[in-house]
Amino acid sequence: MKFAVLVFPGSNCDLDMFHAVEDTVGEQVDYVWHTANDLSQYDAILVPGGFSYGDYLRCGSIAQFAPVMQEVRKAAEAGKFVLGVCNGFQILTEAGLLPGALIRNNSLQFRCHPVDLVVENTGTAFTNAYAPGETIRIPIAHGEGNYYVDEQTLEQLKANNQIVFRYQGHNPNGSVDNIAGVSNERGNVVGMMPHPERAVSELLGSKDGARMFTSVLNAWRERNGAAIGR
């Protein structure tokens, strides 16, 4: 299986994402620059956190038009696995690959601490290794992670089982219905504000994020025949 970690000017979680793949599943992973115009060799595309294009205008608003994003669209439509974390989540919503928008935290503060998440949907490519309703601990680090959708869209998300993670206990940013992560209808595109790539070892305080990477390897193996393995 081959992973791409996209790199935009201003990405700063790309190294963590790269090493998380190496440390959790040991599959091939490449950095792919924002000007790339071919992602056909990759099975999973990871859009990391940071401040793409300086977050000018709005978080993710300029990155959605980077050449590589056309390829991410194609990959998502083809059913390939796409994960956006933090700024990556913002980019995927701006690009229309995921519903909703991320706005300023209701506290107006940048929040940087571990949070407890409930895994609401284990049917996505990135969450099949969790137990339904399981609580996991993953850090957040964001100033604009307040997820917003209108009521009608929220009902659709619930009906289609697109809410992937919810904050448990305290909601750190005011997001609607305590949502921390969502997927598209097919479940091959997932976006979330917490950083699973920062929770892949007990040395980091938690390794609960590691199973997001093993999940996607599971999903890929299932799709490509269980005989392919390491």
Partner: protein, 80 residues
């Protein structure tokens, strides 16, 4: 042609910055202040054959990039 573009957070979406400024104004004694909303103001110079074309161009710019219509409203004024 010159255009002024105003982008504001939708009425039904929380505006934490606006609320903070409202609180600050109240603490300065401006108790007459009701709701405060914070938005973005952009001046755009553009080449357009006529007003109608400029309006169409601006609408497209706002829908594509300048506003996120999930959470923001926009309006613009043309000068000249």
């Amino acid at each position: 042609m010159k255009a002024k573009v105003y982008v504001t957070i939708k009425e039904n979406v929380l505006d934490p910055q606006g609320n903070a400024v409202q609180g600050a104004l109240h603490s300065l004694g401006f108790s007459e202040v009701g709701k405060v909303r914070i938005g973005k103001f952009m001046e755009v110079e553009l080449d357009a054959a006529d007003r109608a074309q400029a309006e169409a161009q601006l609408k497209s710019m706002c829908e594509k990039l300048l506003a996120n219509t999930v959470v923001e409203d926009y309006r613009f004024e043309l000068e000249g």
